[in-house]
Amino acid sequence: MSMERKRPQLNLDELHQLKWLLGGVLALFSVWTVFYLDVDAWTLLILNTVAILSALIWPGWLALVPVAVHVAAFPVIVTCFAADLWANAQILPAMIRLDLMLILYRSLSYRQRRDDLQLIVLGLFLVVVAGVLTVSLAFAGQILAFTGCALAFLFVITLVDAAEAKDPPVHTPLFSWRLSVATPAWTAHADWPRLFSRLRAVADWRSLTFGGVLFTGVVVLSGLLFLAIPRFQLENSLFLDRFISKKARTGFTDNIKFGDVTDIISDTGLAVSVDISDPTQMPATLYLRMVVMDEYRDGSFRLSAPLRRAAFEREQNVVEVNGTERPRPGAPVYWTFYLESGVSRYLPLPGAFDRLNFRELQNAQFSHSLRVLTLRNEPVTMTAYRVEGVNTSPLLPDAAFAQTLRTTPRDANGEPLRSTRRELALPAGAADQAALRAAVATITGGATLTPEEFARRACEWLDQQHSYSLQSALAPGPGDPLVRWIGGKEPGHCELYAGSFIVLARAAGFPARLISGFKGGTWNGFSNSLTIRNSNAHAWCEIWDGTGAWLRVDPTPGSAPVTRTIDPQGEAALAARLDRSWSARFDSLRIFWYRRIVNFDRGNQLDTLRAVKTATQETGLRVRASLERVVQSLKSWLVSTWDARRIATAAIVLLALAGAGWTVSALFRGWRWRRRRGGDGRRADPARREAGRWLARLREKRTDAEPAATAVWPELERIRYGARATWPELDQVFRRAQKAWRTRRSAKTVAPSR
């Protein structure tokens, strides 16, 4: 007797179809990770996507592929890989393209078990390479989706193997004259909507819940393993990013043409995230310097080769860089930067610093005088570094430049010769220089100004002459573009303002240079970190103050042009830039990923262990203290004077406690009794209920003279009270009980007639 509806099972064809479906989805998951890589494989990516999708939807057409194609596939793929390697000389992109070709081939042929395993390994390679090269938060989603899909795929493979055990596998000979491969039977009735409806019918919420819980367990367990795996670094530094080259997306190079920074500003993607151990130390307006450009030529600023040679130290493979600042008393303030890939090889820095630490070994060059740090190559992954002892002052002392300036040849007026100093160089045209002198005269009014005063007046003058706009256009005509813009009324952006100020300052005899980097940013209220986007890219200037330091000047409207002091800091500054939008929520996830996962090292591991230890100890102490308090109060209550009221209160409390204990005990015993009887108390077994009904019917006036009832009685009792394992066949027993019941009824009806 079937008391419950039997759940259907997938047949072998449906299992094969499910396996095919999961294999295709896995392949798509894998190949789409190439989307995040800067590898020239778009053709293969599109081809893979189209071919896998079509094979997924219509698997039958693969049988039309001639056997010769399968025979020739592997040699052709290897030849393509060798040619790719020879032509491009880049091992990793070639391997990625090889992987894509292999996945394509495996997706376009009926797979056996080993082919399925190959597909998983090939897909895993792509996912891991993409993760290592991008270090992005998307990797977390990709690897989890891939893991879930791969586990389901392997699960179905195991079910298929179990279902067709001992059945001979379909074997395609290596060499065959047949025009096409054998078509598996399951492709004949591949009907995906029907399969999905069958899956819905087969699915059981308990199993699905169990699967979901287990997958969550896998994620949690892998997280715990990630935290617990012992860390030690072999410092071999053999890594994938060495095998792939990548160009900067944003254009922060040491040669900027007008419009470059504007292009960056139009990109709202995340550029840098900054963790600050003491956020109140952050200035209200943060400038992150990246590149210093001293030479102006042909309408563009650049870092000149002589300055590069003079200012930068020899490149070193380091994890720590010592800066120009000295350690300060008190707790150090750490600025941890997470620089996204593709921003620049010049690292954003808030100013002078005491010490900078990388997460891993880097080939870096540092300029003490410029306070600029550059890596050898454009980082293709997120780069993390921690800066300590930061000085965000707008004044940057430069003793080397002061010395150089003192030794520079001078003209008849005692001014340094412009031809010998790039920081004083003007556009080459005489008309341009004349126009600049005229503008300077207008700004100064013929007075001799200090550099700071000149900067203030020049900024005001530029602000009066022009308006800010990202959509700037230079008037056509001969001469230097900056001079043309200065002479016109066209709106401009930060590059034009900064460039114009520099040529004006130089025309006035003040050395000046262009700085590019980031300005501003928002304070993420969820992750408590500073978020700087590419749209925060900015260009500003530094002018030599004549006393041995470079002074920051930001002529772009909306900024405080010149200030010698650090902007006000504190909670108010943070509140002004607070961001609690949905975008900030997502960015906080990314910060969590960087802080806790990507940047996790042995130090963090030890910190975690210490935190766990401390939390455990503190919890123990708290529990102990609260217990001691309870015991102490109980003692004091006991030793105080007893009267009738207190005795009555104590008796009531004791009685209540005893009653509660007895109730709990009775409930527990009842629950255990029901469990032992095979039911959980909420819903008795239907077979036991049925047996109980028959026992009740047959119990009335039962005698040994009723052989049928006598015979079926012990079996009914066994079903009613016995262990399920000892049950006889339910159908037969209930049928016999029914027969015995009918026999008795017929005997009762016949008896009176005798």
């Binding site: 395993l117 990797f139 493979i157 193997d161 287990l214 095979g678 006598t710 079996e715 066949e729």
Partner: protein
């Protein structure tokens, strides 16, 4: 109707309903010191996974890259998940072997393996069961003849043992739902007569991901008896059985008109057979048993003197012929009693008696001449021992070699059949 008890079941779920039987200490100890027959072997995909984990781990330590550490952690977690799921899969599953009621050499028989999933919520998938049937006493191997005298005997013994051993794997192809049972059937053909051991050697699974080949010791053994193979024989028909004298009737159960005995009621008995008066007196249900009506009764005497039956093939033919003739006579209601060598004749009244005789034939062996107490064809006249049981009448079937290979059956010394 199944009336088996929990004691018949084996496997992790043999104690159905014993919810408090699980002990962590047992589980942990089993991990350290596996039980007999339990072993875990990596499959090809398992080796790939382990190699991948090792490669990624090496790369992770080389580069201190946390992406690789994450991948490594996930791979290790998947391995652990695989073990946990495999444990869940086999938890609560019990099995029992049900050998066939009778086995005859050369004839197909079906062994049933009954499975039960004692879990409340989770199904079980992908189990396989290795069953084996091998003789209790393997046939003797001839002496080695090769030059490598020290190596060949072992190989030959093993090869001979393997030849006589029948193996099979039974697969649980579908899903075994919680609380459900399933039956796996193994149809096999025993080669030789004799006592056989039917054993469940191992229970294995690749579930859930096929990384590891997990074996659980089967631990189930049944000893069964394979009756001799039926043989084709030729009847000579020269001798007819002598009818028994009046009043000499064989007391055998049958469908005759005379009451033979009363016995206890058994489920399935017709109600018309119930003897109500006797039941009332004895306060238990009794049914009537009637005697068979037959006039031609034979006695079968099998003598297995080793010096007479020197050729093993001929001896097997003898046993097969004796079994076949006895069955034919029993079906015809003409088999009165049987005897083997000098043992007292046993009357054949019921199927049970006849099956006991077949059980004896299944293991009978040539008896050496110097064996005290044994009877040979030369030492006693044919049918002498059976006469008292038959009241002095003969109709005794005996056997003797017929040429180099054949066997002949004699009724009171006259050839009546040969094979």
């Amino acid at each position: 109707m199944s009336t088996a008890t929990a004691a018949d079941w084996h496997g992790p779920g043999q104690r159905a309903g014993a919810r408090w039987g699980f002990k962590w200490s047992e589980l942990l100890w089993a991990l350290v010191f596996p039980r007999t027959g339990q072993r875990i072997m990596p499959t090809a995909s398992g080796v790939i996974l382990i190699s991948l984990a090792m490669g990624i781990g090496t790369a992770a330590y080389n580069t201190a890259n946390n992406i690789l550490f994450i991948t490594l952690s996930l791979l290790l977690a998947c391995l652990i998940l695989s073990g946990v799921l495999a444990w869940f899969n086999s938890k609560g599953v019990a099995w029992r072997l049900q050998p066939p009621p009778s086995l005859r050499a050369g004839q197909e028989a079906m062994v049933t393996l009954e499975l039960r999933n004692g879990k409340k919520y989770l199904p079980t998938y992908g189990l396989w069961f290795g069953v084996v049937a091998n003789p209790v006493e393997p046939p003797s191997v001839p002496a080695p003849r090769g030059k490598k005298g020290k190596e060949r005997p072992v190989r030959e013994i093993l090869a001979a043992a393997e030849r006589n051993r029948l193996r099979a794997r039974l697969f649980l192809r579908g899903r075994l739902d919680p609380g459900a049972t399933a039956r796996l059937e193994w149809i096999f053909r025993p080669v030789r007569r004799g006592a056989q051991k039917l054993a469940l050697e191992s229970v294995g699974s690749l579930f859930p991901f096929g990384f590891l080949h997990k074996h659980i010791g089967g631990g189930l053994r049944h000893e069964v008896v394979v009756w001799p193979a039926p043989v084709e024989y030729r009847r000579w028909g020269a001798t007819a059985a002598r009818p028994l004298a009046a009043g000499l009737r064989m007391a055998r159960a049958g469908s005759g008109g005379d009451l033979l005995a009363l016995r206890r009621y058994e489920p399935g008995d017709s109600h018309r057979l119930i003897h109500w008066k006797a039941s009332a007196r004895s306060r238990q249900l009794l049914v009537r048993q009637f005697s068979a009506e037959s006039q031609e009764i034979f006695a079968l005497w099998l003598q297995t003197a080793a010096d007479v039956w020197t050729r093993p093939e001929q001896f097997e033919l003898l046993v097969g012929l004796a079994a076949t003739m006895a069955e034919d006579l029993f079906r015809a209601g003409k088999l009165g009693s049987v005897a083997v060598n000098d043992r007292p004749p046993q009357p054949i009244r019921r199927v049970r008696d006849f099956e006991s005789f077949l059980d004896e034939l299944a293991v009978v062996q040539p008896v050496a001449e110097d064996n005290p107490g044994s009877a040979t064809a030369h030492s006693r006249p044919l049918g002498e021992g059976l006469r008292p049981a038959l009241g002095g009448r003969k109709n005794v079937i005996t056997f003797a070699p017929d040429g180099m290979r054949g066997v002949a059956a004699y009724v009171d010394g006259e050839k009546t059949a040969s094979a």
